[in-house]
Symmetry: C2
């Protein structure tokens, strides 16, 4: 009936079996040479093919959906999906917020990871940056400055600035990862941040980063990025130190 890959003697841990089922589904996608965008078999067909019940199957399917492996469209079908890190961000944000209730260790580590990523990569990004890309970065800075002058927050321009900074690496996966940490940072920021932000100062920090990049001074660019994060680390310490 089934390929014999089902339920050894159930002697394995339940957790391992669920992971095995996820692997089986991914293996099936690879075996059938499905490409992103292609439809998967229906739930019932998968139940039969994998020899598990619909509930069990759906639990694995949902996990794969959260991991961005598949996309599920209600009433239509399931498809191999392009990358999607949304769920990862949510999980990390949760961990950061959870840690803020204690000593904020993980929150600081999350910020440190973003810091390490950006400071470590800025040099390579500068090597590859074209004049157009540099101009795009400055455009984001200008939008920040305009917003700051008008007293408006500039979340969007901030995200764009950092994205454009690393676009020259032309690594979509890396940009997604940086985007995740940007989002995590942003969330932790609003959690521990002060009621009012010093918008002009924040815009100035980005202006400094830009000018270091424009000058081709990698060491200074990394240093300016460090400033960008250092103040925030301090604030976390204060927030949990109370």
């Amino acid at each position: 009936m089934q390929p014999s890959n089902v339920v050894p003697p159930a002697r394995f841990g339940a957790q391992a079996r669920l992971r095995a089922l996820q692997s089986d589904i991914m293996e099936l996608i690879l075996d059938r040479e499905l490409e992103p965008g292609d439809a998967l078999p229906t739930e019932n067909e998968l139940c039969l093919a994998l020899g598990v019940g619909r509930n069990t199957l759906r639990e694995s399917l949902k996990v794969l959906q959260a991991l961005g492996v598949i996309e599920i469209r209600h009433g239509f079908g399931m498809f191999v999906a392009p990358s999607n890190f949304e769920a990862l961000a949510d999980g990390l944000i949760f961990r950061g917020r959870l840690s803020l209730r204690h000593h904020g260790l993980e929150a600081r580590q999350l910020v440190d990871v973003r810091h390490a990523l950006e400071a470590g990569l800025i040099g390579s990004a500068m090597d590859e940056m074209t004049a157009e890309q540099l101009a795009a970065v400055e455009e984001s800075v200008i939008r920040m400055e305009e917003s700051a002058e008008a007293g408006e927050a500039f979340v969007e321009a901030d995200a764009e600035f950092h994205r454009r900074l690393f676009e020259p690496l032309s690594n979509e996966l890396l940009l997604n990862l940086l985007g995740v940490f940007w989002k995590v940072y942003r969330k932790i920021y609003t959690e521990v941040g002060p009621g009012v932000e010093d918008l002009p100062a924040l815009a100035a920090v980005h202006r400094n980063i830009y000018s270091a990049v424009a000058a081709g001074d990698k060491a200074r660019a990394a240093r300016e990025l460090t400033h960008h994060f250092e103040g925030f680390r301090q604030r976390i310490r204060e927030a949990v130190g109370e």
Copy 2:
């Protein structure tokens, strides 16, 4: 029937509702001030508290488990978990393998991300490294060399080497992330790798990295790491170019 926080007019996408449920569960953990290791309410209690059926709840729960937010122990209960990136690695490995069927773009990007992480962080790690930690790194290299001489593969020593290299940063989260990319790299490596590995050469590469670190030469350390990855990028190109 249910508390009324359910299904506005069901006008929302199904995907969004599932994500909202996950958020609700995480909010509930934060509200009740549960710490890692604490037990969550039972499934039935959560069903009542959140106003959803058990299956729907379980699908969200499994996602949170995969994200490392909670830990489910069969027959005992559910608990707030320490970080766990296992599922993330599986998802990334899948994407890499999937891309190898075509042009290997994502596989190369995955390797590039690991490269960028390690090369970008090695400098900071060297700043913080103590003599004991340096000795531990060399110990891993020696184990590699011994294994290579005996003609045995050294997967474990390899993982340990890279982990010890970045332990000085004392950022558990970052080490987990690097561990994920190590695992992804390893998997892609065995997928496209040659039947036989040049073990002595591989050990020598690590020896070179170590000596650059021991000498305190950051630029050379980053360069040696680049060598470590460059050959592999080439092999991916060959594997998909055939």
